[in-house]
Subunit: 230 residues, 2 copies
DNA sequence: GCCGCCCTCACCATTTTGGGGGAGGGAATA
DNA sequence: TATTCCCTCCCCCAAAATGGTGAGGGCGGC
């Protein structure tokens, strides 16, 4: 199976890979869904194309409780554990079921550097017990698949989503870190025991290196690039 | 093995688990190393305690090329592929080898929401070929272990590293997102087709919800909490 | 129906940032 | 040795952000 994946060099091939996986794993639907930072989405999945189109058209990722919940979790999420109570959520659920998505499912969140985020989901119709048995048996396999699939997808898409940036000097890192924590220039300068004038040089050079238009932008970019850790 | 892990309820038990894993996998050292956002670190590992102490004391995570490189990658990293040329890095390497760390190794980066980051590394002394054979055989197992180990560590530590925050309204998200991209208030207001005065209300209410002292802080917090996606 | 939250807009004084200069000493690298 | 960063400091002035306060309409939940 991994040999098959390693031969995939296009996103279309990934799509085919996911489809064949569905048969191997004897499940109705498998979905690899990459939510790129820039708002672009890519998916390799077994859903009905019309549902996919609608999902993207309506930007359902914003209300899809699976996406929203997985985005702030580490563990794989069983769909049963989600909150489906909100009105918009119930409506979304109704549409999804009409489109043939199973009532049982679980999703594995996958993260990369710079905020890359993807979901690998398996789902089908069925009762709770059967589903619990299935997930219990398959979860390790699916975690690994999620991992390799994401690795491959990033490789194909070109993982340099955010262009490379010049590394920051230690002082620049200190500066942006303290700014990210909510300090203003005066505070940061005091903390670092330097004059505010000096501090400004660091901020501006960091901004220049990052191609940022202002301090907020520079801090956001430094965080997203993993250049500073708060 | 997973049963053994599921019974671990303390960080000490995790330590024991990692030690027994080392024997099962016939390797010199295994290291689970969680780098918490706040700068706190936790590790379950098989290194010499004096090296661990020194590592923490000197804050070597800041210069350790394994940590630095893994932090901005998705794939597991083989230590051979790293850049060991910088002076401080070579010195660090010398100290590490003196402390008994193997010359061959690889590390699997693991990420959670809100910027949680951990590393699971395996290493030992040996030549390149033997190491390549070992990693090729074991990498899938180790990826899974890394996954479960991190899941368990977060569970034990309490994964609410950053206190919960009130959710942001759609307009607040829009606002912070556009600010994170480097727009100033005037631009954002124009983009959203609202007056700058209105925009300010969103910024301030977002700041209030997040407990942020200024816009930069609010944007940084929103990014780290996964409340906005840029 | 009331309460809370969201969306929208306004004004004014003050504080904070940004733009654009210049300058010296030190460390590292090519 | 020359060049390139890095760290440190200074000045002036314009532009932008912030703090505080007030206010109306809408929607959804209890």
């Amino acid at each position: 199976m991994q040999e098959m994946l390693s031969q995939a060099t296009t996103l279309e091939a990934l799509q085919g890979f996911v489809e064949s996986l569905r048969d191997v794993y004897d499940i109705e639907h498998l979905v690899y869904h990459s939510v790129n930072p820039k708002g672009g989405q890519y998916a390799a999945l077994t859903y009905d194309p019309s549902w996919v189109e609608r999902y993207i058209e309506e930007d359902y990722a914003r209300i899809d409780p699976v996406v929203q919940s997985a985005y702030r979790r580490f563990h794989p999420v069983d769909w049963k554990a989600l909150d489906w109570s909100a009105k918009t959520t119930r409506q979304f659920l109704g549409e999804a079921i009409d489109a043939g998505i199973g009532n049982q499912g679980f999703s594995i969140p996958i993260r990369g550097p710079s905020g890359q985020f993807a979901l690998f989901s398996a789902n089908q119709k069925g009762n709770d017990d059967a589903w619990a048995a299935y997930t219990n048996e398959r979860v390790s396999d699916l975690i690994l698949i999620a991992h390799y699939l994401n690795e491959k997808a990033l490789e194909i898409e070109g993982s340099e989503e955010r262009g490379p940036v010049r590394p920051l000097s230690p002082r620049e890192k200190d500066t942006l870190t303290l700014l990210a924590l909510g300090n203003n220039r005066a505070n940061v300068a005091e903390t670092l025991n330097i004059s505010e004038n000096t501090l400004r040089v660091y901020i501006e050079s960091a901004r220049f290196k990052l191609g940022a238009t202002n301090t907020t932008h520079a801090v956001a970019m430094a965080l997203l690039h993993g250049l500073i850790v708060v």
